[in-house]
């Protein structure tokens, strides 16, 4: 028989909800960030920081590399080894850095235009090499920094400043492209599904080899305004929530129900030799001769 005091104990011990403390990861004085009200990039960044925290990798061993665009401003806000480079070229810089310092955990933050248009060539070749790095594509289907031009992921029919009568170009599917090019971990998340996103980013970072996470998020200022979404909330609900289906749910749906929806979750995973390790083996073999 327990005493009343013992009965109360478990309740008192119950863990209080504590919000995640971002301050060790965010550079002092750098916030507010430049992203517009309602832009999903901030939500993605928070998921990324929580995922990084879970990996327990030292901040000194994390390098964040980016190109040009809204998403590419991420490194400026975080307290890692950070490199903000040229439009489309983040992966090339990241490749050089990773080969020079293989102990670094390299994360590339890039956008749909940066990764898939101007940087498309580097994107496929990075996937092919399978260097151990994580590529986060903040995919908002538009060029935000230059105020709203069509990107390789702007859906057909949608309006942009360079697609005033509706975009007629077919889109790239970031994940299919990455998988076809040889990436060994391919996933998709959305800013709306923040828990899922944190989890796939964590898995992506723990994966050995090139991991690609296509993150669907919203650009209310341009994409939203041009395409008659009234609020950031509406964008998140219509595009991220209703426009996607998790891999688990998808199994239970008919093909016609999946029509036009993007899959969320880990879409592909394989085991292939990692480039730095292969290079290291080559060095050892050559030196032994």
């Amino acid at each position: 028989m327990s005493t009343p005091a013992e009965d109360v104990k478990p309740l008192a011990k119950k863990k209080k909800k504590v919000p995640f403390n971002y301050s060790p990861y965010v550079r002092g004085g750098k916030l507010p960030h430049i992203w517009c009200p309602g832009c999903g990039h901030g939500i993605v960044l928070k998921c990324l920081l929580r995922a990084l925290h879970t990996t327990e990798i030292s901040k000194d061993d994390i390098a964040m590399v980016s190109g040009i665009g809204c998403s590419s401003r991420t490194p400026g806000y975080v307290d890692f080894n950070t490199l903000h480079t040229l439009h489309g070229r983040a992966l090339a810089y990241a490749t050089g850095l990773k080969m020079a310092k293989p102990k670094l955990k390299v994360i590339v933050t890039t956008g749909d235009g940066d990764a898939l248009a101007i940087g498309g060539n580097h994107f496929i070749h990075a996937c092919r090499r399978n260097l151990d790095m994580t590529i986060l594509v903040y995919n908002n289907s538009i060029y935000g920094m230059t105020s709203g031009q069509s990107s390789p992921t702007t859906p057909q029919g949608k309006i942009s400043t360079t697609g005033r009568y509706g975009n007629i170009e077919p889109t790239f599917d970031t994940c299919s492209l990455a998988q076809a090019a040889g990436a060994t971990f391919v996933a998709r998340g959305t800013a709306y599904h923040f828990q899922e996103l944190e989890k796939v980013i964590f898995e992506a970072m723990m994966h050995k080899g090139t991991s690609v996470v296509d993150v669907i998020d919203a650009c209310p200022t341009y994409y939203g305004r041009f395409n008659k979404y009234k609020t950031p909330t509406e964008m998140m609900e219509k595009i991220e929530k209703e426009g996607t289906v998790s891999v688990k749910q998808a199994d239970k749906l008919l093909p016609e129900e999946l029509q036009g929806k993007l899959l969320r979750g880990v879409l592909y995973k394989s085991d292939r030799p990692e480039y730095c390790e292969e290079y290291n083996k080559l060095v050892i073999a050559v030196q032994a001769k």
Binding site: K17, P19, F20, V26, I43, K46, P232, T233, M236
Partner: protein, 68 residues
């Protein structure tokens, strides 16, 4: 034995960081928050259940919920 407990929350809003996007107001399941001009404010703290959806969907690092 029966135990009645009330959880108390503290909501911190950094008005230097809030950009007034309304996401937290819209996604709060218990209607705790509202907009005062371009800034989010707490209108019904008692209704807060500590779910932290406001924090998780805030792009601006502007709002956090602490349990007292």
């Amino acid at each position: 034995m029966a135990v009645a407990e009330k959880r108390i929350f503290r909501i911190e809003i950094d008005d230097r960081l809030c950009k007034g996007c309304n996401l937290c107001v819209d996604f709060c399941p218990t209607n705790v928050l509202t907009m005062d001009g371009n800034l989010v404010v707490v209108k019904d703290l008692d209704a807060c259940n500590g779910c932290q959806l406001c924090d998780n969907r805030c792009p601006d690092f502007a709002i956090q919920v602490f349990e007292e």
